[in-house]
Symmetry: C3
Subunit: 268 residues, 3 copies
């Protein structure tokens, strides 16, 4: 795994504009769609039980995000997830706020039980709660807490038979056997709502063009992190509003040269 | 039809701040409201079946957009559309993603059957699917495809007894007898989510102050296109984030002088 | 009450990052979350009846906003409001568009009847309609109208046994006995959607760290107003897009020095 590979996958996204079907929360829909467009992917959002399976089958990746879940949407998420599974479409799951309320925790566990999630992406507390480990959480945004995040990622990957991505100051990616750490990123991402949700969708875009989901995840996190670093360098001092807009610019402007110079990840 | 007329209609919007009732998708609500406010119109969004008819009756225009449709909202859209019809309020319809799934296609056809749509706005694939012509589509964003767009616009206008607006590199507006092409606009609009949805709402704002809906549509597309051109010239090189924000600025700053100098449309 | 107190409360928000549970409308979710994050609070949005009470109990403040209300959400809002009441969590209510349709007016009155609202924030027309006074309204945004706003605030506070905040060119805050006017703010706020909704959430953030709700409200309005003034001074001339982004920057950059120099309020 080299930065060259990441640059190649980014080119593939820009050449093929993979359709990423996101069933995400009402807070981040616009930012998610604009982030995917900036990167070069094609966002689509569809929530009705009458159409989610049809949309999932024609997508390059399906993303389920329970940030503002309700009964009707969860039912549709299961249909979309199962349709993605049947069609061999990568299924990503972002268990926003798992652990914050029993309903979220239980729903997250139902989703990993009733569908085959290809990639689970959350913060440490969310991932811990999905697999039934204790972890402190406040609302839906916190979740660093204590504990060994690398160990958690590995165990969760084994338990769920999936690739697990735990984002934080360092991002950990594991399929249970092989584990990587990605160092790219910037703390300003935590001052903009939906940057966690968007990264899951961006991993989806990479998973749509690369069947090795460990590689797809690393490539997405490195790309995303470099765009954030560049945006922070150019506009971070102005504040989170300017950073958010520049981050969209940088997702669009990211190129192979930047990736080769700045990509920072290692097998651990 | 002259650019002077367009400038005059823009002034009317700014003097009267027409209320545009948008029942739109969850991805573009914020951008639609901010775009309408920037232009000088008053956005309102209401979705509950208990109030949509009341809101539609006091609006200057009603916009239905099925981008993230569900059963409950479609039911409310029909109520709003019928109330708009009864009250003589222009009814706009944006059949987002018609053709992408059977549910979308069928719902779009139900809306044009059970209400009297005043203006239908979509890309070529969406319009084709509403009227039952074959057209390639991917997700909800593509839809240039092949085929004679001018012919499609005319036929759809005749079939639906409505003004049809097909947006793309060149925008085509037809009532079935008279057809116009608008050349204003910029490709960066395709890199920002919701620019198609917003243009439908902007046509609604013009339709609220001009009863000739062909003229209202042309005026809206020229105004919108010039704002996009100016934004692209000033900030396009920075990326889609900066362009999006500058586009809102330019919707607010657009004036008669720009329209007279830059408006580019012709009868075809 | 001095500007020093406001500066101290802002510091408290930044040190404690209070969780503000917003059940708000689909137009403003993203802007509300980003505004709260910029200020230093932790936003959470949850709408499902299965979890709103759990979320409300762990929140520092709960905000109900009926901008795009529907039956299901109103039911959940009542559950969240009652849970906040039982747990002693401040409950804020933003009756968006009360008076625009009977459904909104009736729902707003139901909410103040079936929960104990700690702080009601609206424009004059909305507040008047909640308490049953006549007031002109157009859609959900207007509502200056005529009438004595100070008198309305006092009467509404007495009638509802709550703190009432009426925002406008001058903001009026009253608990029925003590009444303040806040002069900070900028007219550009009216050109960005959701600035009224966000200010209610920001009052919630201050209410989470200050039990005197009159003081919390004044502190929030002064802080918000200064951020708007600074943003308008720096970027207002560019247009509402740039202003919106700079406003988020300024919510993050606001400091005690600015508050002490620019805070402008008085008891009336």
């Amino acid at each position: 795994m080299q930065n060259d590979k990441i640059a190649e996958l980014l080119e593939r996204i820009r050449n093929h504009n993979p359709l990423v079907h996101s069933m995400t929360n009402v807070v981040v829909t616009n930012f998610t769609a604009n982030g995917l467009l900036a990167l070069g992917a094609s966002p689509v959002m569809a929530y009705a039980k009458q159409e989610v399976a049809d949309m999932a089958r024609i997508a390059g990746a399906v993303v389920l995000n329970i940030g503002t879940l309700n009964e009707t949407e969860v039912e549709a998420m299961l249909l979309a997830g199962q349709a993605a599974n049947s069609a061999g479409v990568p299924l990503l799951f972002d268990p926003v706020g798992a652990g914050a309320t029993p309903y979220r925790t239980n729903t997250a566990r139902k989703i990993v039980r009733d569908t085959r999630v290809s990639i689970l992406r959350g913060n440490a507390a969310e991932v811990a709660n999905v697999v039934g480990q204790e972890w402190a959480i406040k609302g839906v945004d916190a979740g660093e807490g204590d504990g060994d995040i690398v160990d958690l990622a590995k165990k969760a990957a084994v338990a769920l038979k999936t690739v697990v991505v735990i984002t934080g100051e360092t991002d950990i990616i594991s399929d249970g056997k092989v584990t990587y750490a990605v160092k790219n990123g910037n703390a300003l991402l935590t001052k903009v709502t939906g940057t966690g949700c968007l990264v899951t969708a961006v991993i989806g875009a990479f998973a749509a063009v690369e069947s090795n989901l460990l590689i797809a995840s690393i490539a997405a996190l490195v790309s995303y992190g470099i765009a954030a670093e560049t945006a922070a360098r150019l506009k971070g001092a102005e504040g989170p509003g300017s950073f958010q807009i520049e981050f969209l610019n940088q997702l669009a402007r990211l190129d192979g040269k930047q990736i080769r110079e700045l990509g920072l990840f290692e097998r651990i």
